[in-house]
Each structure stands twice: as C-alpha cells, then as structure tokens.
C-alpha cells in the first residue's frame, strides 16, 4: 500500500463518518459538524494529492485547502447563526421539529 492510498482511505473514512453523522443525528448543530467533517476530509485529499502529486511546486492543493478552510469557517458562522435564529423561533433545534413553512 502506497502512502497516498493510505491517506485517501483515511479521507474516505472521515467522509463516511461525517456523512453518517449528518444522516443519523437530528440535532442541527451536529448535522453542521458532520458537514464540516466532510469538507475536512476533502481538504485532506487535496493536501495528500499535492504532496504526492507530480507537480508540488504549483501549490494548487495548498491554495485550495486554504480557501476551503476559509469558506468552511464562513459556512460555520452563518450556519450557527441560522440555528440560533431557528431556535429563537421554534424553541428547538431538532431538525424533525422544523417541518412547517408557516411562521
């Protein structure tokens, strides 16, 4: 097994853990965390491919990861504030409780 495939397998496992969490948990904060995990698994892939790729001097993987981390931070901030707004409205952050479009 080459080092790269080890990292790719680990990244796939992390992605699946995040996916499982996002699918099975009903708490909005945890679903958001699961999505963040999936993003992070993708970041690991980028860095691994940059490290073992044919042209590491191009820095593309590193750049993509940096931008992805900043987008993930923005996503977390907006997502958590949406969760706060929803909580203020319906007094619950259980996703099953948010089933009406009427305010």
């Amino acid at each position: 097994m080459s080092p790269l495939s080890g990292y790719l397998l680990l990244s796939a496992l992390l992605f699946s853990i995040g996916l499982a969490g996002a699918l099975t948990r009903r708490n909005a904060i945890l679903v958001l965390i699961g999505i963040e995990l999936m993003l992070n698994a993708a970041n690991l892939n980028f860095i691994a491919f940059w490290r073992y790729g044919p042209n590491p001097a191009a820095l593309t993987g590193v750049m993509f990861t940096i931008f992805s981390i900043s987008v993930a931070a923005a996503e977390a901030a907006v997502g958590l504030s949406i969760i706060l707004a929803v909580y203020r409205h319906s007094k619950s952050i259980n996703l099953d409780a948010m089933n009406s479009m009427k305010g």
């Binding site: 995990l37 691994a48 750049m63 931070a73 996503e75 977390a76």
Partner: protein, 166 residues
Amino acid sequence: MTISFFIIAAITIVGTAAAMSLKNLVHCVLSLTLGLVGLALLFLLLGAQFVGFTQILVYVGAVAILAVFAIMMTRSAEPMTNLPPASFRLSGVLIAATVFAVLAWAISSATRSLPSQSSQPEVSVNQIGVALMHQFVLPLEVIGVLLTAALVGAAILAMDETGASR
C-alpha cells in the same frame, strides 16, 4: 506508511467517530476538536505547515468555540432523550458504509496508477504568500468579500429581532 501516520490517523478517527456518536453535544464538540487537531497533525506530517496551523487556528480557535456558544445559547447541552428510531439510524449508517465501500474500492483499484513516492516538497510561507498575491489574487479578493458578507450576515441573523427593531 510510518508509525506516526497510523497513530495520528487513529486519533483522528476516534475523535471524529466519537463526535458523531456521543450523546452529549458538548462532548461531541470536544471530541471533534480532538479529531480536527489530528487532521492538522496529518497536514503537518504531509509537509503543509501553514495549512496545519491555519487548521488549528480556524477550527479549534474559532469553529469549535462558535459551536460551543451555539450549544450554550440553544440550551442543548443536556443529553438528548428523543433519539430517532433505530431503523432510521441504521439506514443512515448503511448509506455511509456503502459510500465508504465504493470509495475504498475505487481507491484500491486505482492504486497502481497512483504516484507512489516523491520527494518532500519544500514549501515556505513566503512562497504561499507570493502565490496568494500573484497567481491567486482574484480568489483571495473573492474570499475577502465572502468573509465580510458572512460576518455581516451572521451578525444580522443572530441579532435579536425585537432588539433590531428598536
């Protein structure tokens, strides 16, 4: 494949798996932090120093704290009692397992075409800065606009509606 890779990978997997399966939300966030620190260590192991430290700064310093604040403000720190039915959870885990199986199959079948060994690329912060300011300057500007918009948007969303109309 070094011994340090396996140790750090184990830490990462344990942390993230605990984050997705524990009952208490605060425990989830704390173990998520462990997993993300493990991921940052993996970045360091791969030679991406800047990305690893940024990962710790953003995820441990900001996102975890933000999640903790959200948990405290939505009063969900107590263990959840009304879990979804077991069949529902089982189907979610099954889907995730299928995804993992497909990905693992794809990776293992592509192993032969993957590059196996290469020299450790020497990348300094200086190079990253130069690349950000020349080659990637447009994405950088866009990220700046996005972060500003996210900052303002998050503040407005989280603002108390009664307080805002004052």
